[in-house]
Amino acid sequence: MSAVGWGVLGGLVVVCLAALVIAWRRSVTTDAALAERASRPDALRDAELVYMERLFWTSKPVGVVAKIDRVYRMPSGLLVLVELKTRWANQPSLSDVIQLSAQRVAVMGQTHQAVASYAYVMVKAPTGRGLPIAHRVQLMTDEHVDALVRRREEILAGRILPGRPQSRKTCLSCAFRGQCDSLLP
């Protein structure tokens, strides 16, 4: 084969490789976008994803700083919070509700936009496969968050005795389990 023939062949190979790389990158992006679509709760089907992994903070009514996983804006303009959790238990917990309620206070305080009184906890099993399952949770009011922040401050200042967890299961996985009774009365 002549030098021109080799050149043409080489050029064709380069073009084919470039096309393959572009197609692969597009398919990765499309797959990720499809996964986001598929994992969305039905109620957020028409919503627009407006914030991701962003820090919000407010000093009023209480000082709260929160990093949100995702915030969607409904066609009505209402913002809806979404939090991802990786664990085996496929259900939201009280700590998720408190975290999302604090996030709501921070987002409302910083953006002055209306944030829904409900949110979604996306629970994903730690297998690395499968889509997260969305659970709708009702959030605490601003007054409840305020009261909780103040209770935490009182506990840390030693003015109130801290309560024990409702479930003994929590204690089984606690790193302070051995010293729990000796460190606190």
């Binding site: 627009e48 709260v64 408190i98 999302l100 935490r152």
Partner: protein, 157 residues
Amino acid sequence: MGKRSRRSDNDRMVSASDLAQMGRCERLVVFEHRHGTRRTARQQRARERGVVEHERFYREGLAASAQAIRKGRCFIATCVFGEGWQTQVLRGFRDVALRSNVWGRRLIWSYYRLAPGICTCLRRWPALQAPVRVVLGAIAASLRWWPGLRGGGQCRR
């Protein structure tokens, strides 16, 4: 989420994840405040898995946003101006002025239904783009001086 609280000039700030510990165990809140965060090997592994999943969740969100923006090009301003300042001003007006009231949201909803069809016509008959550009350009130029849009609106990302 960082496990730290920070102090502003007057108020003590608490992070949402620190506050969430109150729902798990109040005694743990005190221990972590006094002795720092302590994790078992199992908790550490779970945390690392969580970080990986969060990164994937973030990438999926980014891809979905990018796709939504590409699809957003069908709307009239983007169709005739591209990503010019006129488009930014009109988006700002949509988010700041129209989204904040019921009639504005209805107008946005109606616009979203009509705009893709109009964009198809504008692409098919490019001669129509010139008058649309003049009209929208004039509206955008006048809105640019509207005080509500000064300082930047919450535009679509």
